[in-house]
């Protein structure tokens, strides 16, 4: 955190000053570790073994926060008897279909609950029957199905017992074996964690988002969530799990998502189902209980915001204007489509995939096969110049005259040259004011897309007579799109303020709405993003509020605006006990005020303000009304914290330790070496390496992990061109231990080449004691740290770490594994030209790499090919 979020780290130092104990767990001793009271080096890729060990320690020792767990989590819920755990099936959950999972065996006993996140589409389960409309209509009035529970937590199939059995084998010895953490240090961490949780004290988990870069990435975060739920640290001040995200508005770019699987406000993009209507969509994605029950209000308000008067109840509020998905259209799938000629045009806006994305060579192959490419950035980044000086050109694999991509580079405006909001990692929107005009052709992306949209609308309108009926039908969503924002100045910059107001939403009279609870599904309200509704309450741009911190409470609600409803800690109902009293005075945050019969406290309560703690819903109540007075997790389908995820995750309801896609070690916990549901791509440029006990694994004996530096920013587009940053970290380097340096005769400050099946990169050698060889399974394991900010352009240049990485994805969110891999390292700089190719070929031959290497236990990707139109694969799930 001190490395990538130094200013956020001031609060860790503030906590230290007040006696907090800081524990840093990381494969490398970093600047964060320098400030930590305890540093725990672990083998990259073994985090679930450690977290599982801690969960087991908490459960076995009875250290969990009993009242919190019993009241606020699904510990008591009983799981369907068809469920079988990885402990029963040696590393696989029930419902394994050879590549993925049929999740029906994971459901609760007696009720199917829709997940609040992850894979939401439950079409097959909702509409197993052929007639979609019948199921949707009768959903409203029937009584809500409630899962069976055993409050005594003793039923063998209640979540609590399943959890105990699942993590029973995660002993300190196993943690030492798999993670390389000695028992003394494990106990020190476990005891500190337990001592600092409960009524009087809370523990916080903070992670930089690289933690999700694993084939079991989502399960990493799930493991931390289970631990924090068991210790009662969620929804309380000083607790929680803080994702420290890497970009100024990456939180914003998932709230208002330029992502394939989401509409604004985490509403899922509709999947391609036979004659899917708005009702069908709502039924498959809504939840019987909780705020997702109001999904119809959110969707209709969104459709009204986009298609205005054209969206009426009669035409399903233009629900049919929305394109449909057919499975995974993530970035890697898209690049493969580019390589295979499916994708012709590509917009790259403020991103640098040519060096910044895993398997950079694959990315550049995609770029080279496009018809046209539009790159908008501050500097001439590698993604714009791949055809001119990319590695393929330098190494003579190809020449510019063989690359047919037409490239437009449009200079972008900086944050000081445009109005707008960033959403930071605490979900807080902050307005940045335009200070100066951009120069020359520099324009904001707001300007570019607004004027592009205008241009396309006018061209389609002008040509409507020459276009045939089918074309006019497909142009309707574009022509009917609400697109009239006031513009300012000679460059006709559209008003970001007006766009924010549209995002906030308006009522029937066009006045700004003040809360998402006012959204309706009768078409009377509009909102571009329901979770942002309230940012413009009272016609005030609350994101622009800058009330000095000094003149506010420590929660400081008057600075900027946090979604939803300016709440600063989510699920803060859990900061009070079931009767609504604070767990302790020291940790009071939100509580029930008996006289005023309202929830009150230091923050906006994340609960229905007037619902008393003892409220019990009627049998046929739905949506938010179905939440009991003791259900803090208002977005969950059962109002409870999920220790066990009955749905929504494609690789299991509980986190299980598996070895990374490429690991030198055999998985000694189960015979299943890797996450059986992980997503792979069988591509010649994406070959995987043998792992564990497979022959050839010894060709890549060293574990490597990628990391970031304080001095550079992500792929380097905003730091490698700046002298004051370039001089602080002027060259690509590898961090490794003196023992490894001795073993491979690497010289400090000398050159070394790291080799994987995908690529070979060179860097300077930094020998350091901060990386220690670890003992795992009686074997000494060397780890190499590789920073990933470099590329061939800018003031400081170097090879990109992403040349090394293969693409192996977490199945639920399609995030690639970059934080744990295997490689070889040798002294000297890498070969140039054709010899580079021969070096990689010899390594692949020595390791015996074929098309199936690394995919034996999960042929999931066998047919994840580009689904051509005639393909009958209409099912929502990954086949």
């Amino acid at each position: 955190m001190a490395e990538a979020h130094p200013v956020g780290f001031q609060w860790v130092m503030e906590a230290k000053r007040r006696g907090a104990k800081v524990i840093h767990i990381d494969p490398r001793f970093t600047r964060t570790s320098a400030m930590a009271d305890t540093f725990v080096p672990l083998r990259a890729g073994s985090d679930i073994a450690l977290l599982g060990g801690l969960i087991n320690y908490v459960l076995r020792g009875g250290h969990y926060f009993h009242e919190y767990v019993a009241a606020y989590t699904n510990a008591a819920t009983i799981v369907d008897e068809s469920y079988a755990d990885t402990e029963d099936l040696d590393g696989v959950f029930s419902g394994f279909t050879g590549s993925g999972y049929d999740q029906s065996s994971w459901y609760y006993q007696g009720a199917r609950i829709n997940p609040a996140a992850g894979e939401r589409d439950q079409w097959n389960d909702v509409f197993g029957s052929p007639d979609p409309d019948r199921a949707a209509s009768e959903g409203e009035s029937t009584p809500r199905a409630e899962p069976e529970t055993d409050p005594s937590l003793t039923h063998p199939r209640c979540v609590f017992q399943i959890l105990k059995r699942h993590f029973a084998r995660y002993t300190p010895e196993l943690v030492e074996q798999l993670c390389g953490i000695d028992r003394r240090r494990f106990h020190e961490v476990a005891e500190a964690l337990v001592a600092n949780s409960g009524r009087e004290r809370t523990t916080a988990f903070a992670y930089a988002v690289g933690w999700t870069h694993h084939t079991v990435g989502v399960q990493y975060i799930r493991a931390a969530s289970i631990l924090q739920l068991l210790l009662g640290n969620i929804g309380r001040p000083g607790g929680g799990i803080l994702a420290l995200r890497g970009h100024a508005s990456i939180q914003g770019s998932t709230d208002i998502p330029t992502l394939f699987d989401l509409l604004p406000g985490y509403i899922p993009m509709p999947q391609a189902h036979p004659n899917l209507s708005l009702d069908g969509f709502v039924a498959t994605n809504a939840a019987d209980k909780g705020y997702w029950g109001n999904i119809r209000d959110y969707v209709v308000s969104l459709l009204k915001a986009w298609w205005g008067e054209y969206a009426t109840a009669e035409n399903d509020f233009r629900f049919d204007h929305l394109p449909r998905l057919t499975g995974d259209h993530g970035s890697f799938r898209t690049v493969i489509d580019q390589i295979e000629g499916g994708v012709r045009g590509y917009f790259v806006i403020g991103e640098n995939p040519a060096v910044g994305t895993a398997n950079a060579h694959q990315q550049r192959m995609g770029l080279a096969n496009l018809d046209w490419l539009v790159v908008r950035d501050l500097n001439m980044i590698e993604t714009a110049t791949f055809w001119k000086n990319g590695p393929e050109i330098d190494e003579g694999e190809t020449t510019p005259s063989e690359i047919g991509t037409e490239v437009f580079f449009l200079p972008a405006a900086a944050h000081t040259e445009k109005d707008g909001t960033f959403t930071n990692t605490q979900r807080m929107l902050q307005w940045h004011h335009k200070a100066v005009e951009p120069t020359g052709d520099q324009r904001s992306d707001l300007w570019f897309f607004y004027h592009l949209g205008l241009r396309i609308k006018s061209k389609l309108a002008a040509r409507r007579f020459e276009r045939d009926a089918r074309q006019r039908e497909r142009d309707r969503p574009v022509l009917e799109l609400t697109w009239d924002y006031p513009t300012e100045g000679e460059i006709a910059e559209p008003s970001a303020d007006a766009v924010l107001r549209e995002i906030n939403g308006t009522d029937a009279d066009g006045r700004a709405l003040s809360s998402y609870t006012l959204l309706r599904s009768d078409g009377s309200t509009r909102s571009g993003c329901w979770i942002y509704c309230g940012v413009y309450a009272g016609e005030i741009n609350r994101a622009a509020r800058r009330e000095p911190g000094e003149r506010q409470s420590w929660v400081a609600p008057e600075w900027g605006w946090a979604w939803p409803a300016n709440r600063r800690i989510l699920y803060n109902r859990a900061a009070a006990d079931p009767q609504g009293r604070p767990w302790s005075d020291r940790k009071a945050y939100v509580w029930w005020d008996a006289e005023q019969r309202r929830w009150t406290g230091h923050d906006v309560p994340d609960f229905d303000a007037t619902k008393p703690p003892d409220y019990l819903p009627a049998a046929d109540a739905h949506g938010p009304d179905a939440l009991r007075g003791t259900d803090p997790f208002v977005m969950q389908g059962d109002g409870l914290g999920w220790l066990y995820a009955p749905a929504g995750l494609r690789d299991g309801p509980l986190p299980t330790h598996y070895e990374p896609q490429e690991s030198p070690l055999r998985n000694t916990l189960h015979s299943t070496q890797r996450n059986p549901a992980r997503q792979l791509y069988h591509r010649p440029e994406n070959r995987y390496q043998p792992s564990g006990a497979e022959p050839g694994a010894e060709v890549f004996p060293y574990v490597f992990t990628t990391f970031r530096l304080t001095e550079h920013h992500t792929a380097g587009g905003m730091s490698r061109w700046l002298p004051h940053l370039a001089e602080l970290a002027p060259a690509m380097f590898f961090e490794l231990s003196p023992e490894l340096a001795a073993e491979r005769e690497l010289v400090h400050l000398g050159w070394a080449t790291v080799i994987t099946a995908r690529g070979a990169i060179e860097g300077r050698v930094l020998i350091t004691q901060r990386i220690r060889p670890l003992r795992s399974n009686g074997r000494t394991l060397h780890q190499i740290g590789i920073p990933w900010h470099w590329g061939p352009n800018g003031l400081t240049t170097g090879d990109a770490a992403n040349e090394l990485l293969g693409v192996a994805l977490d199945p639920t969110v399609h995030i690639m594994e970059t934080k744990a891999g295997t490689c070889d390292i040798r002294p000297g700089s890498r070969p140039r030209g054709a010899e580079l190719g021969t070096l990689l070929a010899t390594y692949r031959a020595r390791a015996g790499i074929t098309e199936d290497t690394g995919t034996e236990d999960s042929p999931s990707a066998a047919d994840a090919r580009y689904p051509d139109v005639s393909d009958t694969d209409g099912g929502g799930d990954e086949s």
Partner: protein, 339 residues
């Protein structure tokens, strides 16, 4: 309530109380003692500004206290300083000295964050400098016997800056009066006066000030003399995320440093010590002093710096005697006959 009366907000207390400005115009540290007396050349001197001729109304002496125990080595100070003072980059070379690629203070580097990686010997708790593995300071190879992963590592980080000494050798030796004591008690180079004679460079016992290779002038940290005039804190102190760099009236900083040292010693960090805060040291105490976690030389700082002006009278005397000797020798040579 903090000593100077500003209400202490639980979170903003530190940062705000340190702001200089009109209200501290009259020095809070009691009447200015007379600048005369033996301490004009070296030794403790309560008010260097007064000694340099500023009126009683001059502001309190301002300075830096750099608490290296909370420095996270982020180098925000280096960048903030270069951005404010518009200093150009001086070299894109990987040095291999841990994460320090800046190497040293100089004419275009007025803040330099040092990085020292040390291995803590599990048995003796002694700190072993790793230095530049394979070359450089005495590097010891880890004994294989000790359980290698039990080896603890310590990573010292410290942001180095001009010390703004009470008795500044650079200021004393400067023949043109370019280097002067400011009204805030700091030491600043007047770039419009400096003729680049370079005498200040070898005079500085800390090796801070240097001659710019292109424009020939001498440059160093000015403790943001221009920002002070406008009631702003120096750029590095403003940026420092963990308040390792604290700016404020020197007396206050010295008290705060004593408290911090006590706190660390109570926590068992007995190796913590203050460096440069003692007015009786060789330079009369520094305007920018430090809390270090190891010997000063490990950070590249002199163990016991002395302002050589202290010995100036003696040196002048020796020179006079020698000069007389020369003259007499020549004279003697004229006494003999003409042969």
């Amino acid at each position: 309530m903090s000593p100077d009366g500003a209400a202490e907000h639980p979170l903003f207390g530190l940062a705000r109380a340190a702001q200089p400005g009109g209200d501290v115009r009259t020095s809070a540290s009691g009447p200015v003692d007379s600048p005369a007396g033996g301490n004009r050349l070296s030794g403790p001197l309560a008010d260097p500004s007064a000694e340099a001729g500023y009126s009683e109304r001059h502001p309190e002496r301002m300075g830096f206290f750099t608490d290296t125990s909370v420095c996270i080595g982020c180098k925000a100070c280096e960048v903030a300083c270069k951005e404010w003072n518009l200093l150009e980059e001086d070299g894109l070379d990987l040095t291999g000295m841990s994460y320090d690629n800046t190497t040293e203070l100089g004419a275009t580097t007025w803040r330099h964050v040092a990085f020292v990686e040390q291995r803590i010997d599990p048995s003796t708790r002694a700190r072993v400098d790793i230095g530049m593995p394979g070359m450089g300071a005495p590097s010891t190879t880890p004994e294989e016997g000790a359980d290698s992963d039990a080896t603890e590592v310590r990573w010292l980080m410290s942001s180095d800056v001009c010390k703004h000494c009470t008795h500044a050798a650079c200021l004393d030796v400067c023949p043109t009066g370019a280097l002067i004591r400011s009204e805030y008690g700091t030491v600043v180079v007047q770039d419009d006066v400096c003729n680049g004679c370079g005498y200040c460079v070898p005079a500085c016992p800390y090796g801070v000030i240097d001659i710019h290779p292109d424009n020939g002038g001498a440059f160093k940290c000015t403790l943001c003399q221009d920002r002070l005039g406008s009631g702003l804190a120096p750029a590095c102190a403003t940026a420092c995320p963990t308040e390792s760099i604290q700016y404020g009236p020197l007396d206050q900083l010295r008290q705060r440093a004593e408290q911090r040292l006590e706190q660390l010693h109570e926590q068992g960090m007995t190796e913590a010590r203050l460096y440069g805060q003692d007015p009786t040291d060789g330079v009369g105490g520094d305007g920018a002093f430090f809390l270090l976690l190891d010997e000063p030389e490990v950070y590249g700082l002199p163990p016991d710096p002395v302002v050589t002006t202290r010995d100036l009278p003696a040196m002048a005397a020796h020179a006079a005697i020698a000069a007389a000797t020369a003259a007499l020798t020549v004279a003697a040579c004229f006494l003999g006959g003409r042969r």
